[in-house]
């Protein structure tokens, strides 16, 4: 029943676990990780933008913390869009106990039919464990190079928090962050949404999402695709997402079993 793998774990003599032992082992490790059950994600491709960004963050930590000789445990995935992790992210990471990325819940194709000049994004922040305080939060969207525009043409990208969505009237918006971008620019645009994340955590009913508005140099509202902003049917490794950095504000004890 003993086997020795001819790979990186060759120094460890292994015994195949019986199914009962395996279940016990899984239960113990889940308890150590502080998880009530094994997560069952419906999408688990590691090549989407958010997992790739998170893996970059993971590798940033691992480089510092792991002892020599353990670096080969790091999974190497292709990074088509880089660098995703900014020096500011590294600073946030140093201070964080946990980082979480959130997928956009808005069906972008439906959104396209409904809103031509305003993009909507929604993120479910309700599954954050208790006792975690937000230290920083970012909304990230990819800006592609657009060949058909003049290189020196500029656009203004604005991110708004939706305050109210009254039926049969205009939505009430709060401007969070704004950025001027060149048509020739390419890379991730990062918007600070820390204050909004804190509001949403305290009052989940106020989480009505974010709106993105693109304006040309004449102040005319344009379709975000025109400015090269990727979402919806764009490549998976360039889809917008939200990332939140947390710090535990209390000592947590594992539950008694």
């Amino acid at each position: 029943n003993f086997s020795v793998d001819n790979d990186v774990r060759s120094s460890f003599i292994q015994r195949r676990l019986r199914s009962q032992e395996r279940r016990e082992m899984q239960r113990e490790i889940l308890s150590i990780l502080g998880l009530p059950h094994r997560p069952r994600p419906h999408v688990h491709t590691k090549h989407n933008a958010a997992p790739m960004f998170m893996l970059d963050l993971y590798n940033t930590i691992s480089t510092d913390a792991e002892p020599p000789g353990y670096s080969y445990y790091k999974p190497v995935l292709p990074t088509q869009v880089s660098p995703m992790v900014t020096p500011q992210d590294s600073r946030f990471l140093d201070d964080a106990d946990m980082v979480m990325s959130f997928v956009n819940l808005v069906d972008q194709d439906q959104d396209l039919l409904y809103q031509q000049h305003r993009r909507e994004f929604r993120f479910d922040l309700s599954r954050i464990p208790e006792g975690e305080a937000v230290t920083a939060a970012e909304f990230r969207i990819y800006k592609d190079f657009i060949q058909e525009r003049y290189e020196n043409e500029t656009f203004k990208v604005s991110i708004y928090q939706v305050l109210q969505e009254p039926p049969n009237s205009e939505v009430e918006l709060l401007l969070l962050d704004q950025r001027e971008v060149w048509a020739a620019e390419e890379g991730w645009l990062v918007f600070d949404v820390t204050d909004t994340s804190n509001v949403w955590l305290v009052n989940p009913e106020q989480n009505l999402g974010l709106h993105l508005v693109l304006e040309d140099s004449n102040g005319q509202t344009r379709n975000s695709r025109l400015g090269g902003l990727v979402s919806g049917s764009g490549p998976q490794d360039k889809q917008p997402f939200m990332v939140v950095f947390f710090k535990a504000n209390e000592v947590r004890f594992r539950s008694i079993r």
Binding site: M25, P39, P41, I61, A65, K74
Partner: protein, 139 residues
């Protein structure tokens, strides 16, 4: 010694617990007591072997390690015993039925980070402190 005066006693250095321990070690060396002391042992926890590749992105597993071995005389240097462990061992030696031996446990721990999907396909990067045993010792 009852025959020696107070002055000569004062000039003589006092015997420490360590001196006493050395004497007991020397005495027990000949008794055939096991020398398999408290040591760090390897244990690799493989998330892949647990069938968790669909939700744990990284790492594939980690070297957890654990501590095992006797904390009894002779307490060799590699046991990294605390002063209290030495006293505990002495008292246990005198009264083994009521006083337990010191415990072989981690003296130095390190953290790891785990990257995983939750049920909603959000990604969580969590730093777990004190997950990997770096050194063991007798407490």
């Amino acid at each position: 010694s009852a025959h020696k005066g107070r002055q000569s006693n004062r000039s003589k250095p006092q015997r420490t617990v360590q001196d006493a321990l050395k004497a007991v070690e020397a005495a027990t060396d000949n008794l055939g007591i096991s020398k398999e002391g408290c040591k760090k042992h390897e244990l690799y926890v493989s998330f892949r072997d647990l069938g968790w590749q669909d939700w744990i992105i990284a790492p594939e597993g980690y070297a957890a390690y654990y501590c095992e071995g006797e904390c009894a005389f002779p307490l060799n240097s590699y046991m990294n015993a605390t002063n209290h462990a030495i006293v505990q061992t002495l008292v246990h030696f005198i009264n083994p039925d009521t006083v337990p031996k010191p415990c072989c446990a981690p003296t130095q721990l390190h953290g790891i980070s785990v990257l995983y999907f939750d049920d909603s396909s959000n990604v969580i990067l969590k730093k777990y402190r004190n997950m990997v045993v770096r050194a063991c010792g007798c407490h």
